[in-house]
């Protein structure tokens, strides 16, 4: 039993979706954050959580990429 998927490796769509969403949200947070409403409890939520999502997405993509190289 190999560790890779015989068809579409699910890590690709997960990784790509979260990376794309993260980039969108983080960029939006970096550009638009003046209003207090945009900063719950004083944090720039969009920027920081966007970056968390980018990290997660990139991790998934790397893991899928490594699995596809092994095949």
């Amino acid at each position: 039993m190999s560790d890779s998927q015989p068809e579409l490796d699910i890590r690709w769509p997960i990784g790509l979706l979260f990376a794309a969403m993260g980039v969108l949200v983080a960029t939006y947070g970096a550009l638009v954050s003046g209003d207090a409403h945009l900063r719950p409890l004083g944090t720039n939520l969009n920027l920081w959580w966007g970056l968390v999502m980018v990290l997660f997405g990139v991790g998934m993509i790397l893991s899928a990429y490594r699995a596809s190289r092994k095949q």
Binding site: Q5, I14, L17, F18, A20, M21, L24, N46
Partner: protein
């Protein structure tokens, strides 16, 4: 609450991905087994996440947040007494029969172990139940989006149903499983900031406790007496009704979840599916129940009012609009949308499998080529979605959706659990015993429901009535199956090999390193869940 272009962009991105996955998977759907059981080649971590995700539909997410607001940490019993022990049991003791006997569905196991009539009974009730559940999901989604964003009920129902239809039609179970995994991560990453921000604003866990009535954050302390807690339940109802009958009934016999494990690539992966699922599952209360409590504590009470009545189901949407700026709001709404849609897709893919294998192939057209059944599966997918839309419009009756779902389970799954336990662990159980036991157990549940509705029997809450109804249904089925089995002729042992515990060789994992064995994982899960019960006692 108002959405901005960035939010719509994120929602559109998600929909595009979901449809893209469906189109990519289409070319792999060559046989009916590919379509209904993903060709049995999915890795354990994927089936495991799909296993909880299929259940982490909108009903769960919104309903658990609502129950958190209403009942507090008591709601965690649905996880820490309910789901997790049942998941350990199904993994260790039942999966060897489900996966080992190579059945393609739960009703099919009933036919092998007992006979046609039990299978037909289960297949039909299950088909009705999945369509109802899928309809409730759809309806709840439309209501929520109307309340939050002012979207039209009819447009939301049609749009969501179309997206689900397209991706399940193209990619079958694989599509459904992939989207469930995607949804799992969306729910976690989309809702986690709510819990984090809420806890910070409340001043930590102690700060939260200080603002709440005594015992609101405890799970066991007030269970001595049904009048001592807001749920109106006592420890026996929780342990026997929820923990044993309802949860084991759902997690061990409901084909919706079992189907995910059947798609695993080998026995070890099938057994590990519920255990891998149990690890994140036990922390879901912090993601859904705690935000419900936070919303109830921090937000002004009038925000929960709709036409003068408190609507606890608003807890999660209110918190989303309280904390999330445009951007993250899009992510949060997408997580909810995803959970609504995959909750529906899970039911549709279970429905089309049971319909095609257990009803159509068994009773309507027996010996057709495989391509015929694949086509039938696609037709059943379309019909399932259409019926769900119908059911969505029927779902108006009950105040709390979770109670409603428990009610359906108490009709279908509670007596079925007794049938399975006796079927798998008592070789003397006979086909007639199983059928009449199951039929009368279901009748007992219905009868109990009528007596409580008419007010002949009274409980402290609807929830307590459901727990006790499940206990009656299970006991009726259990006792009658034993009695009737004892006076009817059993099947010879040779016919039951692979179907009954005492006659089946246990799977051996000596070849696997001990860390990879299902039993090791089961011990880890058990220790963690006991710890959680202890910490939040």
């Amino acid at each position: 609450m108002q959405l901005y272009w960035i939010d719509y962009l994120i929602i559109a991105l998600y929909c595009a991905f979901v449809l893209g996955v469906g189109f990519t998977l289409k070319k792999y759907m060559r046989t009916s087994l590919d379509f209904f059981l993903s060709g049995r080649r999915i890795a354990a971590w994927v089936t495991g996440l799909a296993f909880i995700s299929a259940n982490l539909g909108a009903l769960e997410v919104m309903g658990m947040a609502a129950s958190g607001a209403k009942y507090g940490m008591l709601t965690s019993h649905f996880y820490w007494v309910g789901a997790i022990p049942a998941m350990i049991f199904v993994a260790l003791f039942m999966m060897p029969f489900y996966y080992g006997s190579r059945v393609r569905s739960v009703p099919e196991y009933l036919r092998l172990r007992f006979d046609e009539k039990t299978r037909a009974f289960n297949a039909l009730t299950f088909a009705v139940m999945t369509v109802l559940a899928s309809g409730i999901n759809l309806y709840a989604m439309a209501i929520v989006l109307k309340l939050m964003l002012g979207w039209s009920l009819h447009a939301t129902i049609l749009l969501a149903a179309s997206v689900v239809l397209i991706y399940t039609f193209l990619g079958g179970l694989t599509s459904s499983i992939y989207n469930e995994v995607l949804q799992f991560f969306l729910i976690v990453l989309g809702l986690l900031p709510l819990a984090l921000l809420g806890i910070v604003e409340a001043g930590g866990w102690e700060g939260l406790a200080a603002r709440l009535p005594e015992g609101f954050l405890q799970t066991w302390r007030n269970l001595g007496d049904a009048t001592a807690n807001p749920m109106g339940v006592e420890w026996f109802g929780v342990v026997a009704g929820l923990g044993f009958v309802l949860s084991f009934g759902y997690w061990c016999t409901d084909f919706l979840v079992v189907q995910r494990a059947l798609a695993a690539r080998d026995m070890a992966a099938a057994q590990k599916t519920p255990l891998i699922a149990a690890l994140p599952k036990m922390f879901i209360p912090f993601l859904v129940i705690v935000p419900g409590i936070i919303a109830w504590t921090l937000l002004p009470r009038e925000q929960f009012l709709v036409e003068g009545k408190v609507v606890h189901n608003l807890a999660l949407p209110l918190l989303l609009s309280h904390y999330y700026p445009p951007g993250m709001l899009g992510v949060g709404i997408t997580a909810l949308l995803a959970s609504f849609m995959s909750g529906m897709a899970g039911n549709v893919t279970a429905f089309n499998t049971v319909w095609t294998y257990d009803i159509y192939q068994s009773y309507l057209r027996r010996h057709a080529p495989d391509s015929h059944y694949l086509a039938m599966g696609r037709i059943a997918t379309v019909s399932g979605v259409v019926l769900s839309i119908g059911a969505a419009y029927l779902a108006l009756q009950f105040s709390n959706i979770m109670d409603y779902l428990q009610l359906i389970f108490s009709f279908v799954n509670a007596p079925l659990l007794a049938t399975f336990l006796l079927g798998m662990f008592w070789k003397r159980a006979t086909a007639h015993g199983a059928f009449w036991g199951l039929a009368s157990g279901t009748a007992a549940a219905a009868l109990h429901y009528i007596t409580t509705q008419r007010g002949w029997v009274e409980y402290a809450s609807e929830m307590a009535a459901n727990f006790h109804g499940a206990i009656y249904a299970w006991t009726t089925c259990f006792v009658l199956t034993i009695l009737i089995s004892l006076v009817t002729r059993p099947r010879p042992d040779v016919e039951l090999v692979g179907l009954v515990y005492s006659l089946t060789e246990k799977p051996s994992y000596r070849r696997l390193p001990w860390l990879d064995r299902p039993a090791t994982l089961a011990v880890l899960v058990a220790v963690l869940v006991i710890a959680l019960n202890w910490i939040y006692r």
